[in-house]
Symmetry: C2
Subunit: 238 residues, 2 copies
């Protein structure tokens, strides 16, 4: 972006992608973190991009309205793509959205995703040969697109930074703030959003996390999302 | 609510309060957690209440649209109030909103808040004699309303469950899910939102958190928010 501050300093634009049905917290976490950066340090701004500036649903009862269209912010410095369930898998076959992602990513210094947002980046052809994270139940679906799934909270491979499921976007975004503005600023943002997590039932016990239990749920989501796209359905192991 | 499921089972409504300028993640975290509960276990639903079903701004570039008006859901089973900065402090003097909170809280089995949302509950007269959490920079402001600030991630005092700043709403909401539907369900929700936090720069070092550094920032927010309300300004230590 050629936007500048009052002092003529260029403003780096951190753009979040909104599309119908995305998972609210996939955007809400990193958007809050990056907006705290923008509120704290001159030279950054956050925007939410959508096809139109109109209300769209999320996977919660909250509807949201983007702040800008894709056309209005063609060259963000940082792009962040949230994930979701059925609507996100369906969006893997949405050539209009994938073209938007390719276009916005082209000049970005950082291309990031949260949860199954990495499946959208993968479907757009952007993660070939890259390590990538995604929601733990969907890791296998990165493979057909030439990406290597990683079971980390987030993984950085060049300009690509992809996070695990939903809440992992907060950790990833704090890393991003550190990368963009230094660790001191990241710690300050962490203080402002009081991110000192204490899950009331402790950390996830991954040894007890039974992916097989959720297999019908994943299969059902694939079937529902890709009814009109048998090739992609088969490619994803459906 | 008298809403029932197809099998005639009553539905418990978890209602989030939206008002202009609230902090996105204060709602986004617990709304995602509670919506995952509603998606997983029959008998629960989440709604977002507002004065009107119209877009309103948050403290990020994302605008949001409530799913229902206050009038449409007069008796939620659980009420969750997000906080914010200047708009939330200003809302402490908004008698219309405070009356909405009192009315919605009247029959609720749980009244919850995130961050400075507890200041709204306090201003509505609901936290007198209660222990309460809030954003770490705003704890003192609970005192004039007869609440006892607690420096915990969240605190439960009878039917009141109040969380610390912003991201603490996720921890609080998982506790709520445990209270409403049992620990197993809470753990399942935790898995679905992959809440296994790993702050990239570690936990907050509270010994190094310098509240004095942020005093001018808090003072400025109070001044801006309560310009037309000198009595409340003075009561809050402005």
């Amino acid at each position: 972006m050629t936007t500048t501050t009052g002092t003529g300093q260029p403003v780096r634009t951190i753009a979040f992608v909104a599309y119908p049905g995305f998972t609210m917290l996939d955007m809400g976490g990193p958007l809050q973190v990056c907006s705290a950066l923008a509120d704290t340090v001159p030279g950054f701004r956050t925007v939410v991009l959508g096809e139109r500036i109109e209300p769209m649903g999320t996977d919660t009862p909250l509807s949201v309205v983007p702040s800008h269209t894709f056309d209005e912010v063609p060259d963000p410095d940082v792009l962040v793509v949230p994930g979701g369930l059925v609507p996100t898998i369906a969006a893997m076959a949405d050539e209009t959205l994938l073209a938007r992602l390719r276009r916005a990513a082209a000049g970005a210094s950082v291309v990031a995703s949260v949860c199954t947002g990495s499946l959208l980046l993968a479907a757009a052809g952007l993660l070939e040969g890259r390590k990538a994270a995604t929601h733990w139940l969907f890791r296998d679906m990165l493979v057909p697109f030439g990406a290597t799934p990683v079971a980390d909270r987030w993984v950085e491979d060049g300009r690509y930074v992809t996070a695990a499921g939903v809440s992992a976007g907060i950790d990833m975004a704090l890393h991003l703030v550190g990368r963009l503005a230094g660790e001191d600023t990241a710690r300050q943002v962490q203080l402002l959003i009081e991110y000192d997590p204490k899950p009331p039932f402790g950390a996830i016990d991954w040894a007890a996390a039974d992916a097989a239990r959720y297999e019908p749920f994943v299969k059902q989501a694939l079937t529902e999302a890709l009814a009109g796209h048998p090739e992609l359905f088969a490619r994803l192991g459906g």
